[in-house]
């Protein structure tokens, strides 16, 4: 133990020697993230539309997804193992569960933030219900939805490291291994790599968010919304 403490915490050689493993774990990390967010969206969008259309369902949906969100990650992953084993499935069930609250809340808030007069004008011009949803409401909800995807993605990246317990931790695997043999280089590699990945993903998605919503970035002329006159 003393010997290890006296040694410098990082060894670049080690990192270089193990670049293949690190690379593979990185790929695993990316895959797990992508799958989790994709499935999360696939579940969240219908749920959100339901909550948007029928407001009463919003509370129970939020309550349930909130409950899932509150359960600490280690607990969730561990508790699933007796049932679904040490598999990607276990990890994904946990990861997807954590994305739901963020995604549902952001999608619903985004949809609700679409100005009433825009919807009124669109209906009056002759948009069908479906066209209104896909061509007006969803695009205008994009800023909130994109923000939700970004937060969900970044938190998923962090949570994957915890799944190292069950062997599906991506870069977190390095942390766990490093802890087992008390080798600081490995620990730091895993920790810093996942940190950098998270920050990079955040920046990348922020850029994508901006690129997708050009109308929010332009200079706004002050327009005071009219008070409903004569009503």
């Amino acid at each position: 133990m003393n010997g290890l403490v006296a040694a410098p915490p990082t060894s670049w050689e080690w990192i270089w020697d193990h670049r293949d493993t690190i690379g593979q774990l990185f790929v695993q990390h990316v895959q797990l993230t992508a799958i989790a967010v994709a499935i999360g969206l696939a579940i969240s969008i219908p749920l959100s539309l339901l909550a948007y259309r029928y407001g009463v369902t919003y509370a129970p949906i939020t309550w349930f997804t909130g409950l899932l969100y509150t359960i600490p990650s280690l607990a969730l992953f561990a508790a699933l193992t007796p049932f679904t084993g040490l598999s990607v499935k276990t990890a994904e069930i946990g990861l997807v569960s954590y994305t739901l609250l963020i995604l549902v809340r952001n999608i619903v808030v985004g949809l609700r933030s679409v100005p009433d007069d825009v919807k009124e004008a669109a209906r009056g011009m002759g948009y069908t219900r479906r066209q209104l949803l896909w061509r007006v409401e969803f695009p205008l909800a994009m800023p909130a939805i994109a923000a939700g995807i970004r937060v969900a993605t970044v938190s998923t990246i962090g949570l994957i490291t915890v799944a190292a317990l069950i062997g599906k931790g991506g870069l977190g695997q390095l942390i766990v291994e490093g802890l087992r043999i008390l080798y600081p280089t490995e620990i730091l590699t895993g920790a810093l790599a996942s940190l950098v990945f998270a920050l990079a993903a955040d920046a990348l998605l922020l850029w994508a968010e901006r690129a997708l919503t050009p109308w929010t970035r332009v200079r706004v002329r002050a327009f005071v919304p009219p008070r409903p006159v004569g009503r």
Binding site: P225, V229, R231
Partner: protein, 383 residues
């Protein structure tokens, strides 16, 4: 032959115009409210005319308008647009054929100005090659700089937004337009300009328009016919602005129209519409005595000085002192002039603010045409 009806008052027959929009005994009851928003309303909107629905808050004017394009469905009664019952048509198709402008316009924030204008053409499947020129055409009609085409609504001023909104409603050239307080959200100067521009365009396009406003002056300015509405969608009077001002049907209408009905009527009559009078005129080369003769003839204490048609000003007795000819008496310019396109109300303003107590009428190039006296103007109203 179609009847122009009002629920109170006489029924007129309009032999020459078909009703483009017909509301027959329309009632709308909203759930959880005691009295109906609109009750037994019957109204015909003749083709090519602008009918303004005006009234206090809660009179049902907006509700009525929104029933025409079926954004609200009537509880009972019939609504016909171009002879067809709106309840029997596909609502989406119906709305694509009716121009719709609301107070806050509701431009799609995530689409450029050009895309906004092209909304209904795109919905109805117009070819791209047809859409582009149409967008350009509309932007030109509404005086919108082509540079604005690629801008987003948030970058436009209030006036620009309103114009884009109206242009958008006209994109597929619908025969019918519904407009709900479209100019209310801008300041009065911009509003007046927008109203003028719109009247201009309507003169050319001759659309059938139902226009809702709470502002009686706007109604008088914009309407061919006005329906003054009271709570419950009751039409107190349905007539031309002139008639409403001249003969308000009852106290409610009288009160709603407000004071100064006479002045409001004057605003509707143009100087060009009436016979102007001669006034005292001398040329600059005339003698002071000739000037005094002119004054006496018209029982006035001043006379205009006109040089070969061009108006130089006026002179009175004190100015003529010591002058050899009228021209030497330094004619003073009139403080206000009116032209043929000004209203009698403006002429009246000119009269009360000038020393000479008449309105001097000139052509565009300051060429003297005549005068208008207070008596002459009153005659238009008192008859």
């Amino acid at each position: 032959m179609q009847s122009v009806e009002s629920t109170r008052g006489a029924t007129e027959t309009e032999a020459s115009k078909e009703a483009m929009i017909s509301l027959r005994h329309v009632t709308k009851r909203f759930p959880n409210t005691r009295s109906p928003a609109v009750e037994d309303l019957s109204l015909d909107v003749p083709q090519g005319e602008t009918v303004v629905l005006v009234g206090p808050s809660g009179c049902g004017k907006t509700t009525t308008m929104r029933m025409i394009n079926r954004l609200i469905e009537p509880t009972s009664g019939e609504i016909l647009v171009d002879g067809r019952d709106v309840m029997r048509q596909d609502p989406v198709e119906l709305r694509r054929g009716i121009g719709y402008v609301i107070q806050s316009i509701g431009l799609l924030p995530h689409r450029t100005v050009a895309q906004n204008i092209a909304t209904v053409p795109r919905l109805t499947g117009w070819d791209h090659n047809r859409i582009q020129p149409r967008v350009d055409e509309l932007m030109e009609i509404f005086g919108l700089d082509p540079e604005l085409k690629q801008r987003y609504p948030s970058e436009l001023s209030g006036g620009q937004r309103q114009r884009v909104g109206v242009a958008r409603a006209l994109a597929v050239d619908p025969p019918v337009m519904l407009m709900d307080e479209p100019f209310a959200a801008v300041d009065p100067i911009v509003r007046a300009r927008l109203q003028e521009q719109f009247l201009d365009i309507q003169r050319r396009l001759q659309k059938t328009i139902v226009f809702v406003t709470h502002d009686i002056d706007e109604a008088i300015k914009m309407a061919d016919r006005i329906a003054i509405m009271n709570l419950g969608g009751v039409v107190e009077q349905f007539a031309t602005p002139e008639e409403i001002l001249r003969e308000p049907a009852n106290d409610f209408v009288k009160q709603f129209v407000g004071a100064e009905r006479g002045l409001k009527r004057l605003a509707l009559i143009k100087v060009a519409d009436i016979q102007i009078e001669d006034g005292p005129v001398v040329s600059p080369s005339a003698s002071p005595d000739e000037a005094r003769n002119a004054m006496r003839r018209f029982s006035l204490d001043w006379t205009s000085v006109v040089d070969d048609g061009e108006l130089l000003g006026w002179v009175d007795e004190s100015a003529l002192q010591g002058a050899g000819r009228v021209g030497e008496a330094s004619p003073r310019p009139f403080s206000a002039y009116v032209t043929a396109s000004d209203s009698l109300r403006q002429a009246l303003d000119s009269i009360v603010t000038s020393r000479t107590q008449v309105a001097v009428v000139v052509s565009e190039g300051q060429r003297y045409l005549g005068v208008l006296s207070l008596e002459r103007i009153s005659q238009e109203i008192i008859s």
